[in-house]
């Protein structure tokens, strides 16, 4: 603090500022659900603004996956990276977003650990606002990660036959599925309270789901039991749907419907559990 020379404020003559504050703060109004949700979304954005490093996970994973898998498998699987991108890129989009979802759970666990969560929980607001606000900021992160995947794909020579509408529809579908996973990790975080453990659990689920899918190779050469798993794996459906939309294969419909059903089921199961855990008085 600077050394005082003169005081420009006639503090001594005034009433105590604290007294004035207390008197002025007597009106109570309940924040609406929308405002509260948007405020929590804004809080997350402010956190990114202050610590842009937070976005590293949302950026590094898409870059790494897209570049690495294209050149790693491209020649072997499809003969050339150009052909492989057609199959891989929509799948890598799904996988990248799926992996990025787990960091939302870790951030929530961090909030619970630090006590910020309890401060908000003690406010007279709609109980879903904290979760919805988190989803809003997650959606922004997923959009950011999706943009990286798509731009990288375009740079490496991917030309989506579905054009901009196909890409936008695929990204929207993947983000919707990602948000349903967010709710799942939020529920885990509200039980576990430890960011590192939440990440471990999410990894243990997401890594097998990502690899035991049709993202990298067609299941035709897989043994029967693995093919059965790949066929029911929701990530396979989301990947197929993204391919259908981005490549405009005409096969649109089935996979998209299955993806939406998977998204709906995960959401319908996880949302009430997450809300219950949020408002549960420990």
């Amino acid at each position: 603090m600077s050394t005082p020379a003169t005081s420009t404020r006639p503090a001594a003559a005034e009433a105590d500022p604290i007294d004035a504050l207390l008197a002025a703060g007597r009106t109570r109004r309940r924040a609406g659900a929308l405002v509260a949700s948007a405020t929590f979304g804004r809080r997350a954005m402010l956190k990114i603004k202050h610590d842009p490093k937070q976005l590293v996970d949302s950026a590094a994973i898409p870059i790494l996956f897209t570049v690495l898998f294209t050149y790693l498998f491209g020649g072997a699987v499809s003969g050339s990276t150009g052909d492989y991108l057609k199959m891989l890129l929509p799948g890598v989009l799904c996988m990248s977003i799926a992996i990025v979802t787990m960091y939302g759970g870790a951030r929530l666990a961090q909030d619970v650990q630090s006590g910020a969560f309890d401060r908000f929980r003690g406010l007279p607001i709609w109980r879903g606002a904290f979760v919805v606000g988190g989803l809003l900021s997650d959606a922004a992160r997923y959009l950011f990660a999706s943009a990286i995947v798509v731009v990288l794909g375009l740079v490496m020579g991917y030309r989506p036959a579905g054009g901009a509408p196909g890409v936008i529809a695929a990204v929207a579908l993947v983000i919707a599925f990602g948000l349903s996973l967010s709710l799942l990790w939020a529920a885990v975080a509200l039980v576990i309270h430890d960011p590192a453990v939440v990440l471990s659990i999410a990894n243990a689920v997401l890594i097998p789901l990502s690899f035991a899918s049709n993202i990298f190779v067609t299941p035709a050469t897989m043994p029967r039991w693995l093919r059965d798993f790949v066929d029911v794996n929701p990530l396979s459906h989301v990947a197929t749907a993204s391919r259908d939309l981005m490549n405009s294969t005409g096969g649109t419909g089935g996979a998209v419907a299955w993806s939406l059903i998977a998204t709906g089921v995960v959401t319908l199961v996880c949302a009430p559990i997450t809300l219950h855990l949020y408002s549960k008085q420990g």
């Binding site: 600077s2 703060g25 202050h50 309890d118 401060r119």
Partner: protein, 382 residues
């Protein structure tokens, strides 16, 4: 994003002048406090409503975590407008009690009404009128002080403009304008505590929970927080504060409950509790630890009270029971010194003082009791 750049520059200039005036004001305030012979803890009796519902009424609160009973039947009645001190060591159940009363934790047994509302079924009615500060309901470290207040303002239903004004006013009143744009993680302990309390005043609460408001603060910051608490109480807000410091409870609270192992072991005004603990403590430090048993024997035979052996092998202390009048204390202490000297016990240091918190706890909770008998637990307010 939050404010325009010109706004920011203007604020910078205001901030400097505020720092100056705040230092002057703080100095003046400290000076005035020194002159006060006794602290007025009535906090404006006119604002109190002793006839109406109590602010807090809890009966038989129980909370079990696994094997341990964090709360083992807590009864509390706190009148509106009162500053109530909850005194106890770490892990005694202070924070758990506050969490239940603030609707953050569900009790496993018992009932509680806060401002007339049930903590289990009327959570929103309670949440709208209480504010919580402390370790367990923290601010966002990576956001600035201003942003923290802005967000809480919006969540309290203030408009964008009103949130900004309120945040500015709070920062100014709490001498934080100069640090408004800095991340809270970089704040000093005192600044953080002021912001924390400021954040709880976005809407003036009817009931304020302060969880260990001055733990870890330097004396100057502690005095600032105390002054804030007095102001808030004077404006009519009921305050429930937890503390590990007897002095803090003594300074601020009209009524004090001592909690230990999830039970309230004593309750009363600070004067009642002090009388309970004894008028003072005789502290003796010997030259030779070998002579401690001898010194113990002499003291125990001479004075009425509880002799305790400190961890330091040279030291022992004696909690004096209330004597009929103050002159007796001097006589007794004098006699003790004489007898110790006659017995050839070398004394390095001998002093008579107020009981320390540790001693107060020992007396009130019976923990680590010394050779002499300890007091029974009883409710002093009864």
């Amino acid at each position: 994003m939050l404010r325009r750049a010109s706004d920011r520059r203007r604020r910078g200039a205001v901030a400097v002048s505020w720092c100056m005036s705040s230092i002057l004001r703080r100095y003046a305030l400290g000076h005035n406090l020194d002159k006060l012979p006794e602290i007025d803890k009535s906090y404006g009796m006119s604002k109190k409503d002793l006839s109406g519902d109590p602010a807090i009424e809890a009966r038989g609160l129980v909370k079990v975590y696994g094997e341990s009973r964090a709360l083992d039947g807590i009864d509390l009645t706190i009148q509106r407008g009162q500053v109530f001190g909850f005194l106890g060591p770490n892990g005694a159940g202070k924070t758990t009690t506050i969490r239940i009363l603030a609707t953050l934790t569900r009790p496993d047994g018992g009932t509680a009404r806060v401002l007339g509302h049930d903590v289990l079924t009327e959570t929103n009615a309670i949440r709208a009128r209480v504010a919580v500060t402390g370790q367990f309901a923290s601010l966002d470290e990576d956001l600035t002080g201003y942003e923290n207040l802005l967000i809480l303002g919006r969540l309290h239903g203030l408009s964008r403009a009103a949130s900004r004004t309120r945040a500015d006013d709070l920062l100014a009143a709490f001498d934080l304008t100069g640090s408004a744009g800095r991340a809270v993680g970089g704040y000093s302990g005192g600044m953080r505590r002021r912001l924390d309390i400021g954040a709880s005043l976005i809407v003036t609460p009817d009931l304020l929970f302060l969880d260990e408001p001055t733990t870890g603060l330097d004396p100057r910051s502690r005095n600032q927080v105390w002054e804030l608490v007095r102001r808030i109480a004077k404006a009519g807000t009921t305050v429930l504060l937890t503390t590990q410091y007897l002095e803090e409870a003594d300074q601020l609270a009209e009524q004090i409950a001592v909690i230990d192992n999830g039970r309230i072991v004593a309750e009363g005004t600070s004067a009642q509790l002090k009388a309970r603990v004894g008028t003072g403590t005789l502290q003796i430090r010997l030259l030779d630890s070998e002579q401690r048993p001898q010194a113990l024997q002499i003291l125990a035979g001479l004075l009425e009270g509880t002799v305790r052996l400190a961890d330091d092998p040279l030291s022992l202390s004696m909690l004096l029971a209330t004597p009929p009048d103050a002159t007796d204390v001097g006589r007794l202490v004098g006699r003790a010194a004489t007898q110790l000297a006659d017995a050839g016990v070398g004394i390095a240091d001998l002093s008579l003082g107020q009981p320390s918190l540790d001693e107060a706890f020992l007396a009130l909770t019976g923990h680590r009791s010394g050779p002499a008998a300890t007091h029974d637990h009883e409710d002093l307010s009864a």
